[in-house]
Symmetry: C2
Subunit: 342 residues, 2 copies
């Protein structure tokens, strides 16, 4: 399986680590042998090697914040959007930054790769939340996979859970904590910190960006909810078709007051079916502390799934992290390898 | 897919309900068409029909506590252990009672069916906890499936989660609440009820048996832990090879005292690897109320899985129930159908 990385930041490096660590077991247990035929990164530069480059060498260079220049292979210049069509690979690993308003440049990368007959795996929410229908159509027409397990709960494989594990269940409602940053802020506010101070803490620990809008206004959760609405319920809506409220107007006194009544404020993303309509929303909600979602603290994520056959199932797991998000891509790659082995 | 039910109590009926309700979707979405070629039940009697009997008719008879006598088909007498080898079916659904000490008569039913080339799906813990290695060998030799999703967490498909969803992860430790009865008793003891009174309540609500030993002494959780040790960690141990302590010596004052310190007593089953050894145990443990396992109340079950790539993942779901346990068998049947479609 010839891999082409587009983007080689935290998530791409997380996947590279796992690929190297698990190399033997991947071959032995899952029949997955891989080589890296290229890495295209805006900051680190572009290197390609049709016979396979040394991924450990590239990883070390990237982790030392060095350009990929020292890595053996052919150096090429230009933007990924102009290069992908000219390269040969089996799988494009799209892990550039997320733009939830336009999906660019990731959606262009993905479109080109699928049209060229490459499978695509990505953790990039923008393209899926905005262009899922178009991209899945291109993938089908070219008989390749377009997989994005990491877009909803990072490494916690919830899409796989819906598609494979809970097979035969009818899904009635999905609700959960899909943004670790806001959950961290709300957790700190229980200690009496103001919203502003809790946000500062989140920024200090690297949970929140300098411009935290995508998290605190609920957009990140909204993109994830939209992906669930599409994949699980067949909705064709776009993110901002759904109502979305963040946590910026929640005060620490409201948080502490709720706690005294056995409740916790959580930013809840929710998708459900109402007659023939798929509805969704993101909004803060008071959750009972004895409900599984009420026990989800810090940067952890969780989903509660209401099904016809099983009642409520809750899955709690990491919603971010280098290795965790990298794992979601490995999960996608193993799915491709498994299908090919059949 | 010709189905042969052995046992037609709550769980068998739960599956029958789902099969009838979902008949159309099973064919359309999963290519699964089925007919029931026989039901063998100690209490209700035996009826077989090579061309397929009316499952709705049998379900109605069973739900009205009536013998299967009114159901169209051939009446046969005798024990299932003597009948299975003479019958033709594609899948044996083994849902008789569990005997965790001998596994009988279920293990005899399963052995005969596998040897005859039938797939077997079961929710019966005894045969798996005691004879997994032998039964899986017979299944392999006969090129059929032996599936038992419902044995660990009833409808919550955790075995599927280990085998399919978390593919490529290395599992380091699994711990959880695997017995709903004891969790219900401990939950009621938080309200100040004595162990005896809480047990009485559990018996009133049908959560506990008249002789509650298998639950309160931890044996049920132990069987489940043993199955996890075998399936996930490759252990060959038998249930009583592992230490096992139940909840009978926990006092309500200890429960209330723990709660005042932010802890909850839970009966925890645990499996882990220590160097090359697989260890396991069942014992009551104080769990932090802010840990996901600490939020699991009443008859609900939960597992926390420690993995190399994802840290902790927790799954919370039903651990019992007619439809829920029935669903686990449907999940197994769909797995067989899917493999056959390939």
């Amino acid at each position: 399986m010839r891999l082409l990385f587009v983007g080689f930041g935290t998530v791409g490096q997380g996947l590279a680590e796992l690929l190297l660590e698990k190399k033997e077991i991947l071959t032995k247990e899952f029949g997955l042998t891989w080589q890296t035929v290229g890495i295209l990164d805006k900051k680190l530069g572009n290197v390609v090697a049709p016979e396979g480059l040394d991924l450990q060498e590239a990883l070390t260079a990237a982790q030392n914040q060095k350009l990929l220049e020292g890595v053996r292979g052919e150096r090429i210049s230009g933007e990924a959007t102009e290069l992908i069509s000219g390269l040969e690979a089996d799988v494009l690993i799209e892990v550039t930054y997320t733009d939830i308003k336009t999906g660019e440049p990731a959606v262009t990368h993905i479109r080109q790769a699928l049209e060229k007959g490459m499978h695509v795996v990505t953790t990039n929410k923008g393209p899926v939340a905005l262009f899922y229908e178009e991209l899945i159509d291109i993938a089908r027409a070219n008989n390749v996979h377009f997989l994005f397990e990491g877009t909803v709960m990072s490494g916690t494989p919830v899409l796989n859970l819906f598609r494979e594990t809970l097979i035969g269940c009818e899904f009635q409602e999905i609700k959960g904590i899909l943004n670790g940053t806001t959950n961290y802020i709300l957790t700190r506010m229980e200690e009496g910190l103001s919203y502003e101070d809790a946000l500062k803490k989140a920024q200090e620990f690297g949970y929140a960006e300098a411009v935290p809008d995508a998290d605190v206004l609920g957009w990140d959760a909204l993109a994830k909810v939209t992906i669930l609405a599409k994949v699980v319920f067949g909705s064709r809506a776009k993110p901002f078709d759904f109502p979305c409220e963040g946590i910026t107007s929640i005060t620490s006194s409201a948080v502490v007051n709720a706690l005294s009544r056995g409740k916790r404020f959580k930013l809840i993303g929710r998708v459900w079916r109402e007659r023939n309509l798929v509805k969704a929303e993101v909004a803060p909600e008071e959750i009972d502390i004895n409900h599984p979602l009420g026990s989800v603290m810090g940067a952890t994520n969780a989903l509660t799934i209401l099904t016809d056959s099983l009642g409520e199932i809750t899955v709690i797991g990491p919603g971010a992290g280098r290795r965790e998000t990298g794992y979601s891509l490995l999960n996608d790659l193993l799915k491709i390898a498994r299908e090919q082995a059949r």
